[in-house]
Subunit: 336 residues, 4 copies
Amino acid sequence: MVIVMSPEATERQIEQVVERVHETGLKTNIVVGQSRTIIGLIGDKRVIMSLAVEALDGVEKALPITSGYKLVSREFHPESSIVNVGGVTIGGKSLVVMAGPCAVESREQLLESAEIVRAAGAQFLRGGAFKPRTSPYSFQGLEAKGLEYLAEARAKTGLKIVTEVMDISSVDLVAQYADMLQIGARNMQNFQLLRAVGRSGKPILLKRGIAATIDEWLHAAEYIVNEGNSQVVLCERGIRTYENYTRNTLDLSAVAAIKHLSHLPIIVDPSHGTGRWRMVRPMAMAAVAAGADGLMIEVHPDPAAALSDGPQSLNPVNYASLMADVRELSVFLANR
Amino acid sequence: MVIVMSPEATERQIEQVVERVHETGLKTNIVVGQSRTIIGLIGDKRVIMSLAVEALDGVEKALPITSGYKLVSREFHPESSIVNVGGVTIGGKSLVVMAGPCAVESREQLLESAEIVRAAGAQFLRGGAFKPRTSPYSFQGLEAKGLEYLAEARAKTGLKIVTEVMDISSVDLVAQYADMLQIGARNMQNFQLLRAVGRSGKPILLKRGIAATIDEWLHAAEYIVNEGNSQVVLCERGIRTYENYTRNTLDLSAVAAIKHLSHLPIIVDPSHGTGRWRMVRPMAMAAVAAGADGLMIEVHPDPAAALSDGPQSLNPVNYASLMADVRELSVFLANR
Amino acid sequence: MVIVMSPEATERQIEQVVERVHETGLKTNIVVGQSRTIIGLIGDKRVIMSLAVEALDGVEKALPITSGYKLVSREFHPESSIVNVGGVTIGGKSLVVMAGPCAVESREQLLESAEIVRAAGAQFLRGGAFKPRTSPYSFQGLEAKGLEYLAEARAKTGLKIVTEVMDISSVDLVAQYADMLQIGARNMQNFQLLRAVGRSGKPILLKRGIAATIDEWLHAAEYIVNEGNSQVVLCERGIRTYENYTRNTLDLSAVAAIKHLSHLPIIVDPSHGTGRWRMVRPMAMAAVAAGADGLMIEVHPDPAAALSDGPQSLNPVNYASLMADVRELSVFLANR
Amino acid sequence: MVIVMSPEATERQIEQVVERVHETGLKTNIVVGQSRTIIGLIGDKRVIMSLAVEALDGVEKALPITSGYKLVSREFHPESSIVNVGGVTIGGKSLVVMAGPCAVESREQLLESAEIVRAAGAQFLRGGAFKPRTSPYSFQGLEAKGLEYLAEARAKTGLKIVTEVMDISSVDLVAQYADMLQIGARNMQNFQLLRAVGRSGKPILLKRGIAATIDEWLHAAEYIVNEGNSQVVLCERGIRTYENYTRNTLDLSAVAAIKHLSHLPIIVDPSHGTGRWRMVRPMAMAAVAAGADGLMIEVHPDPAAALSDGPQSLNPVNYASLMADVRELSVFLANR
């Protein structure tokens, strides 16, 4: 951290800041500039981050130099991680696709979806049994029944199951059925839940929060890994901006940023990222070209009848066509 | 809802949309414009909101006409609500102030804070026993011990206690000690938690999510009221924008918007809203002038030593001065 | 500026950065931390800001310590400036109000508006003769004819005239008629125009850009003052955020920020800031309480017939009521 | 447009709205819903857009159904346009690359850059002779001298020249030297300039504004085409969001949106879009996969010595490698 003193700061104020810093065991290095003095702090990052020196007289601002995450940082773990979900690896050479309906709506709808997903060559079936919905009057998911249907679909198709867990009280239940637990965007900073899934022993898919910075997202992953669970995959799903043509603004530069800052794999969800099924194919292609390790795609046997997110779901024909395209592109890029 | 058909939509596609809508029991009214047809839907709002017609061929977009919340809407409840917390009313004529440290750090720090808060004339003591923190390495709160100190402070000062509950598993515990349960910005869409506090019987302070729209915020309140608990107070605490001089952008226009859309009381937190103690006073004054029913203010006996949010906390002298100013302004406005 | 080296930076890379910096005549101060080295730069701010060291090997990032504006900074000019527009002062004790229609639509409409504005006690008549419009098919203003009507309204009412200049080719023309030239939000970074109005000798009202940071806004003011024109007043008019209930998000914390960072006066435009006439009064009150030096208000004899921005314009009755309220509040605040 | 009446609107208020609409020659269609009445408007789009009915009593809001642009809309021009710049076509099968330094700094720097750009196979040389800079103390460009160097570089390499024009007073000058005129992000809504370049007869590269919606961007293009110049290419260059790891957030979904809404070609600038040279390659690949018609890339013989935007400029080696990659990808995609 670098403490920037105000131009009117007195000698005494500078001394007081230095004393406060030294009391914590940190060392300082003072740089006297033309109009102001800055104080560099040296020592344990965690101690540095706990200081609130901006409240001291004469301090203009404090600039952090390093980020506070460590376990998920590429700085301390230069090699890319590969996450293994029951034999399917994420983060290696080949593209992983997780597809399925937004919500599990019925046994028939799910089994039909699973067949469509399998036929086109995905590795994971997605589908929400517990659904976070803006309105209390919207469909909230089939809950335990939905989990059973997911397990049945796995038995029939061999697909791995990834599904959202919304609360610590249902972590155990969901973990009994799912191969991978998803933390949704609204829960990215539900820290108790992050700790709980960290202790679950299951691989975790951590979606980026609706307005989360990349730094906050990696800190959220740090919460999980800090519980001893390093099987974490990140998922970019669009951020909230002023643009309203799309449901969210899909931030594909996050793929490149994460690859630079962290060793964790990252996949992209162009369905939520755009909110419009017509845009899913071009954004899926772009995600693969940007270096994403996988995709999460919403597909529904009859999107117009979907209880949730119909407008962004592909129908079976468009989905199969998308799968052919992204696989071909992925192979082309891997062989260069 | 109004369904806008694309200019190239065929007669058959328009018919199919109408058929789908009629299957749900809704009625339609078709408007044939110069370049496109639009279809107005008439009937139960909840049925309308569950439709996913954008996935049908020929549909360009669907525009919602009304919002999905009802219990918290002024439309169905024209009179302003007053929330009563153990005899202190929020939403009436007089300004309510909730003040205290960001986090409960120790018995001494809390009791000293409570005395400062009481002396200057606030009605509530705030202070986090459970703290949501971006980094797992930051101070996470004293938890149960912190709640005990809060209860002790109440006993000594007569202040009401408002404190955050972060998870459904601790709702009962926090409810034993607190007079009012706070839902933090990160949990505004933690729907299970909203339901749980809705069933707790306690008055709720619902902070606006970091990037929540006013519409989403009112839907979150609807989750609570829908469980039978109408004692909800909203708290504007700044939203995330591109501007980074302030920690958040305090959206004071939300006060006027909420007063128009809802009957619930609303208070403002200029400490989190700006992240800078120098800006707390002008923004508190502005909040009162905008019509807020109360304020939430961070104050600390020694902000520079605070374990959390020191840079935005007032010291006792500035806090007392602020209280005098806002009270005087509030009285002036009430007497006009 | 502080240069942060990457943890893997070699000794040689650090030396190369230092050499590059020394070549420019700047001095360096090296701080060796636990995981990385940082290099503080000392010397002329303008030289420091021209460096592109982030492109050198081993550099992780460069953090600016000070901002690049100087003439508009309170650091170099601690006393608040007062701008004098033909005898009306902005930035002193008393609140200044600029009111009028969005656009000059006709002689009758303008003269009627001017009478309404004068009667309720404003000092300035606003009204656009040149209108920046999103669509080429919207009303674009009466241009020269509109300026003549503004001059006639001044002659009849004694009000000062503030009106927008959109292009360098019309600066001379507008300056012949107006008492104060307005730079609109879309032109805040039209640097040639900023220079031209800087040379015009007229007082300038500089609106904040639609997505401008406070730092960029002050740099824009610096362009004007750097041409020798220190008669600059800033105007907060709302920024673009994800929230769409309001047309923009009025950032009242900008008032406090500007008062801290700069000596220039600042006024607030709650009409554009909210886009809804119902919200103009509460936000005008809030602006005054936050410490704004003035207000800009849209008023129209018949808002529903306005050719531009009708939905955010007050009718004469609401305008008169607003004026009474803000004047009373302003007097109350000044006398405390 | 659909006018939504408030639930408390009286019969008389509804009649008054209808009367106002009929006075303009438009027709209405009234839909009486369960809680409120909506009024659909039928007739000339330009008349509809000029109404300010939200200011009438009883009106809650007005929802636009169609956008106001027409000439640039795919709705009225289903076939994709191809823009021809002196024999180089943009919008056809093959990818177009515009590369070069941010600013023309000297004859040597530009000629060296041009050679690098040509050698790696781009079609256009970019480079600013007039530079919009946040600070008045930053390098502002070589102006006329810079244009001469650009012309010399064209003569030596055969590359087409694209360069920014910042003001109507220099349109003629820049048009003498450039093959294509660039409108920068800050000038996207400088409507006088849009009109002037519309009349210049030159092909135009229109960058998206820093916080422009896709709708505003297409309206800006409409201004140019409305002057009779249909040779317009759009350029996505990142939008301003809360995320600050990147300089801007590159919105690649805009490529798919523009392809759906408009017939104009679109290229992508990953250099400004990310602000970090390490991210240029992955985002360039993603842009091509998303369907962009071309790329704009910053390259500099010595990025660390650049007078502008060094941190986001590629060095010659990285640039050549990027060009090989994107060309290969483009060919692969075209041949599928």
